[in-house]
């Protein structure tokens, strides 16, 4: 069974292309974007691929518009995505808040490059991690996934659509220039083997409905445009009917639910990968391209008899809080070394969760290149003493 949307087979493919194919396999039918290095390849592939399956590709005038357009398309029932990098990511912040507030599922790929400002268009960075979590104003939750390979870029993009539709939140793929431009083997499974979690939708026909009345998981079934429900959706604080209600009580009910629908379900969202953890005394925590070098370093350390393990964060947000607390409370665990290409972002989350029970050390590299195994190894050696 061949399908135009799912390119079943073995490919030699870049991380950017794999994100696009992940979207295609997940049934994405709308892409709005704006060219930006190093994420342009995602848009280029979507421009070629979407018309083949009846989807729409549109190049918008900027990233503000791209984000608004995918929220509009998703409100009308399409699975919709965009792709960008740092400067465009900053522009998208405004409407990430809108998607969180209207609870419209969208997928946003950020192929991270070095910043601030125009920074390093063609070179790697991992500096948007905190922006991904906190970049739009107000309180809300999002989900962010971090692939370490093109294969994972494909798989996580499929997962991103499922998570977005299930939880009705914006889901981000926080890839980076190295993973995005790296070309490796990507195996695309058969269409029937790709799990698609559909949106929970309100059944049409019923006029007596409350569009933002949550189910027992705090997630309201979605009402789409053009189904006869006459929904009102607003970015203002609103009640369960969707009508603006500018009171502290309405704010408390709404914002707490927006946050709780993710925080109460972290166990089903968070994924990590562990290596040599059984007896590890020093644990390297890393993600994205940094996790590849980190794994190499952990292997080298093990060869030299050092008790070093690796915790790779696949889900960045919500943060793998309970696992890190658990590890920190083990007597044998002396330190966490957080390897990332920034001046220290996730390290503060790790430090918070470690709660002083284990030392937390930043292995922060400034970007523009991936750190060498030797550079990270030296830091680990210092920690192990």
């Amino acid at each position: 069974m061949t399908s135009k949307a799912v390119l079943t087979g073995t490919h030699f493919m870049s991380g950017d292309d794999a994100c696009a194919e992940g979207g295609m396999a997940a049934g994405c039918s709308f892409f709005a974007g704006y060219p930006i290095t190093p994420a342009t390849e995602v848009a280029e592939r979507m421009a070629r691929r979407l018309p083949q399956v009846g989807g729409v590709y549109i190049q918008m005038e900027d990233e503000l518009a791209s984000m608004a357009a995918i929220i509009g398309a998703s409100s009308a029932g399409s699975r919709a995505m965009t792709a960008t990098s740092g400067p465009g990511f900053s522009l998208m912040m405004e409407n990430i808040g809108l998607a969180a507030m209207l609870e419209v599922p969208v997928v946003l790929v950020n192929i991270m490059r070095g910043g601030p400002s125009t920074g390093l268009p063609t070179l790697v960075g991992q500096q948007d991690v905190m922006q991904a979590r906190w970049g739009s104003h107000g309180d809300y939750e999002i989900i962010a996934l971090s692939p370490s390979s093109p294969q994972e870029s494909f798989l996580l993009t499929v997962d991103a659509f499922n998570l977005a539709d299930h939880f009705r939140v914006p889901v981000m793929i926080l890839s980076d220039e190295i993973v995005g431009h790296m070309t490796e083997k990507v195996v695309i499974p058969k269409k029937e083997e790709i799990k698609i979690v559909p949106r929970s939708k309100l059944k049409s026909g019923s006029r007596d409905f409350i569009p933002y009345y949550p189910d027992r998981n705090d997630i309201p079934p979605m009402v789409l445009a053009g189904e006869g429900f006459h929904l009102h959706a607003t970015g203002l604080t609103h009640d369960e009917y969707g009508y603006p209600l500018i009171t502290p009580e309405a704010q408390e009910r709404l914002v707490q639910r927006l946050v709780r629908k993710i925080r109460d379900h972290t166990a089903e969202i968070i994924r990590t990968e562990e290596l040599y953890m059984e007896d590890a005394e020093v644990i390297v925590i890393s993600y994205g391209c940094s996790a590849r070098t980190s794994q190499e370093v952990v292997e080298i350390a093990r060869e030299r008899g050092m008790k070093v393990g690796l915790l790779r964060l696949i889900t960045l947000w919500p943060f793998a809080e309970s696992r890190i607390r658990e590890l920190a409370s083990l007597k044998r665990v002396k330190a966490f070394v957080v390897a990332e290409i920034n001046c220290g972002q996730m390290v503060y989350e790790v430090e918070r969760c470690a709660g002083g029970k284990a030392e937390t050390v930043l292995a922060g590299f400034m970007g523009g290149r991936i750190f060498t195994p030797e550079e990270l190894f030296c830091i680990i050696e210092e920690v192990t003493g």
Binding site: S29, F30, A32, R48, P51, Q52, V53, G54, G55, V56, I58, M60, E61, D62, L64, A65, A68, A69, I70, I71, G72, A73, S74, S75, A76, G77, S78, A80, E94, N95, G97, L98, I210, Y213, P214, D218, A225, G226, G228, F229, H230, L231, H232, A233, T234, G235, L236, D239, E240, Y241, Y243, P244, L245, E249, A250, E252, R253, Q256, R257, D264
Partner: protein, 305 residues
């Protein structure tokens, strides 16, 4: 952290104090219990809003297949009163939101109902590009020459030397001519009417909604609280008299000559009404056919009558 406030009953009742809803023929286009609206007494938005309701009725547009997207500001609040699918989005982004919605569901009529500041200042980039692409949208722009919601600040349409809270010495910037700009950007239907011309406005909305492509209507409206008061233009009644005495209907005037100076003759009428393939027409004929993709759902056909 795990307070379960959600178990309490919803904070508002949907119905209750809306006795009398349904008695007026246009009430079916209004959400029960949402009126009174927030607009000041004497505000022209209500007149344009009513013209829109009448257009829905006259044009026979399905309330299930018509979607209104609005931005932020006084005009943006119109979405919340309409008994249609309505989206009250972020400031300036109504048009790209509506673009995504229209392209995902070409069978829906999508109307953007917003103000001059939202559409031409913060959203200026979006309106020119949506017009250039000829996305099949109807834009209803309420031009009241200032930012009403935030208390009467100067904006992209504030006339030279006009006083607003942020132009206390008079506005020193040249305003946009919205008609000229819409035409230059590629709109296929461009009209201007004032709040006095309710019938013409209604007719223009029906025509614009039936037009395939990017249609733009400027509704010049009084803002007695924000703009008129500071410029000593009198009450809404005075402004309506002004519209009556100083407007002239023309279908031929070059859009370049339709600018609205401070104390003007106001040119009203239909300035552009042409045919051009829409974004989706071009997408279909130029892209999908070459990509070997399946035909997409048809857009609403031109329906006159």
């Amino acid at each position: 952290m795990k307070q379960r406030l959600i178990d309490a009953p919803p904070v508002t009742e949907r119905t209750g104090w809306c006795e009398g809803h349904g008695d007026h023929p246009l009430d079916r286009f209004l959400k029960e219990g949402r009126i009174p609206h927030i607009w000041c007494s004497g505000c022209g938005i209500g007149i344009v809003f009513t013209a829109f309701l009448k257009a829905l009725e006259k044009g026979g547009f399905s309330t299930d297949k018509t979607v209104v997207v609005s931005g932020i500001g006084c005009s943006g609040r119109a979405a919340g009163y309409l008994n249609l699918d309505t989206y009250h989005t972020t400031h300036g982004r109504a048009i790209p939101f509506a673009t995504g919605l229209k392209l995902a569901r070409p069978d829906l009529k999508v109307v953007v109902f917003s103000g001059d500041g939202d559409l031409f200042a913060i959203g200026g980039n979006h309106i020119i590009h949506a017009a250039r692409r000829n996305v099949d949208l109807t834009i209803l722009c309420i031009n009241n020459f200032n930012y009403g919601m935030t208390g009467g600040q100067g904006g992209p349409t504030t006339p030279l030397e006009a006083r607003t809270t942020t132009t206390p010495y008079g506005c020193a910037e040249h305003p946009f001519n919205l008609i000229y700009m819409a035409k230059a950007s590629g709109a296929v239907y461009v009209a201007r009417w004032t709040a006095l011309h309710t019938h013409e406005l209604r007719g223009a909305i029906v025509a614009a909604m039936n037009k395939r492509g990017f249609s733009f209507i400027e509704a010049v409206t009084p803002c007695p609280t924000g703009y008129a008061r500071r410029n000593k233009l009198g009450s809404t009644l005075d402004l309506m008299r002004h519209f009556r005495d100083n407007s002239f209907i023309t279908d031929e005037l070059d859009p370049e000559k339709t600018a609205l100076p401070f104390n003007p003759k106001i040119a009203v009428g239909t300035f552009v009404d042409i045919e051009k393939p829409t974004f989706l027409d071009m997408y279909e004929s130029c892209i999908v056919s070459k990509a070997g993709g399946p035909k997409r759902k048809k857009q609403n056909r031109n329906r006159r009558g």
